[in-house]
């Protein structure tokens, strides 16, 4: 009986000491944003023709507050485009992936800013809490709050729902899908997902082969495959066929299949892995696909 009691006490002690969830986030802190002067790893490399003039780059901070916080968290954002035209332009809210900071994704944001022609569309990118210069610690609830704070800023600067497009890449597919399906400050009129998660449950079952509930290993509740069912606006999906992080069969195809409205476009890109889709597809073709979606749907 004594031994049983010791085992039970040890079980309770051990069963609360480790958490997997934090490992989803892979932020790196910075002391300043370097953008084009950043010499770390980036996912795509652009030539000088893609340089954005300093007059069209606006770095600022936002106050983000999730439902569990008593005070706001300061997060950093970069807008590419003319602030004075937000009340007329179409703006792409770019939700980056799970690693490092905005400098790593700066070439991707610049590439988006060349959709159609240079600075035809505005692009807003933020560093989620804990990333880059943003304060705080990453969390799933924080992702949604941070992107929503950015949408609130766009609305305050004159953007309307019909000119808001949200783009989610990899982990960024979670806030992009969530805030399109369950609108808060603004309701994006179009959704673009690149290499999205299906759900935390699929991540677990990909690893297990068995039908294992996600809650056996994680608190994450990301469920793009369910949330996308609520999306009524047009949807553009990119996924590399050689993606070895988020498999196209178990993640992307499920999300795409679950989109129930009629206006969807899919690009299943041969030989593209998780991080190199725009390069493998070709920058011009990638931009053309987005332009076609933005102008014809």
């Amino acid at each position: 009986m004594k031994h049983l009691l010791i085992v039970l006490l040890l079980s309770v002690f051990f069963s609360s000491c480790l958490d997997l969830d934090d490992n989803l986030y892979s932020p790196t802190k910075l002391t300043s944003y370097e953008r084009d002067n950043y010499d770390g790893e980036t996912e795509i490399v652009l030539d000088d023709t893609y340089i954005i003039p300093d007059s069209l780059i606006y770095e600022f901070t936002l106050n983000s507050k999730d439902s569990t916080e008593s005070s706001s968290t300061k997060i950093f954002a970069t807008y590419i485009g003319s602030l004075s035209r937000i009340d007329r332009d179409t703006v792409i809210m770019y939700c980056h992936g799970n690693s490092d900071h905005m400098d790593k994704y700066w070439p991707r944001a610049k590439l988006l800013a060349h959709t159609g022609s240079k600075n035809r569309f505005g692009v807003l990118m933020i560093d989620y809490r804990g990333y880059g210069l943003s304060e705080g610690k990453p969390s799933e609830i924080g992702l949604y709050a941070d992107v929503d704070a950015a949408l609130q800023w766009l609305e305050d600067n004159g953007l309307t729902d019909n000119r808001l497009v949200i783009y989610g890449y990899s982990m960024g597919s979670a806030p992009a899908t969530e805030l399109t399906a369950n609108a808060r400050s603004m309701k994006p009129s179009k959704l673009i997902l690149e290499a999205p998660f299906a759900s935390a449950e699929v991540m677990v079952q990909d690893a297990a082969e068995l039908s294992v509930p996600a809650s056996f290993v994680t608190n994450l509740e990301i469920d793009n495959a369910e949330e996308i069912k609520k999306v009524r606006g047009p949807f553009l999906w990119f996924h590399g066929k050689a993606d070895d992080f988020l498999y196209i069969e178990t993640h992307g195809e499920i999300v795409y299949k679950n989109y129930l409205a009629p206006d969807s476009v899919a690009y299943r890109v041969e030989n593209a892995n998780h991080t190199d889709l725009p390069s493998v597809m070709g920058f011009d073709e990638y931009n053309a696909a987005i332009l076609d979606f933005l102008t014809n749907y």
């Binding site: 490092d100 699929v202 677990v204 082969e209 495959a225």
Partner: protein
């Protein structure tokens, strides 16, 4: 030298950045749920005999340029109910660290006794109920398991060599998002050797996990003979009472 090793580890982690670390940990935890434990008991205990075992090891994965067994740990308590029937209970301590309780309740019965030492083995069957529940949402799952073992003694000595086949059954017809659950049987052959002393036993076991299921659809590189299955290595330390 130390700085060099430190830099290598740092570089490896950088390569593993993105979602790889998340997936690595996910796999480390999750595969312990799917028949990655060693065989608990192969040979029935004598009536009234008790043992406590510590199990260490798991499937071999490639990590930072090395092939390493995933360091799962679990504990087993066994009791000889009769000379032919042994009862046991195991607790997966690694899974417990991540807030999920995985326990096994099992029986081992002797089904064939050759009565003499020779080429004919003793044969035993083990029925196991794998019960898991998490402390997050209180989901509960049950997977039955059936193992068959054959073991050979070396003449009069207590040391023995064994072969076996383990099978987990997955009854669910669907996975997440109504996708079909295609695999319902998780068969894994194994071979091991037990060095038996008066008070202690030491076992080394090799297990070839699900040799017919592709190991390609995985972020974590698994060690195997080909593109299917995963090799596993386990060490058991048992104290007899």
């Amino acid at each position: 030298m130390i700085q060099c090793i430190f830099n290598n580890v740092k570089n490896s982690l950088k390569i593993l950045n993105n979602m790889k670390i998340f997936y690595l940990l996910l796999t480390v935890i999750i595969v312990t749920l799917s028949s990655c434990a060693p065989t608990r008991i192969v040979k029935p205990l004598k009536k009234g005999e008790k043992t406590a075992s510590f199990h260490f090891g798991g499937p071999i994965i490639r990590y930072s340029n090395f092939n390493i067994p995933v360091p799962f740990t679990s504990l087993t308590y066994a009791y000889g109910f009769t000379n032919e029937l042994t009862l046991f209970n195991s607790l997966h301590t690694t899974t417990l660290l991540y807030k999920t309780v995985h326990t096994e309740f099992g029986t081992l019965i002797n089904i064939y006794d050759p009565k003499c030492y020779g080429y004919r083995p003793w044969i035993t069957i083990s029925h196991v109920a794998n019960i898991l529940f998490d402390t997050r949402k209180y989901n509960v799952k049950y997977w039955p398991q059936l193992d068959i073992n054959a073991y050979w003694h070396y003449k009069q000595k207590d040391n023995y060599f064994y072969l076996g086949l383990s099978n987990w059954f997955e009854f669910a017809s669907h996975k997440a998002h109504e996708e079909r659950q295609t695999d319902h049987y998780f068969l894994s052959p194994y071979a091991g050797h037990t060095f038996s002393g008066k008070k202690m036993e030491y076992t080394l076991e090799f297990k070839y996990l699900t040799p017919y299921i592709s190991n390609q659809l995985s972020v974590v590189e698994k060690n195997s003979f080909g593109k299917k299955g995963v090799n596993g290595i386990y060490i058991n330390i048992t104290r007899k009472f």
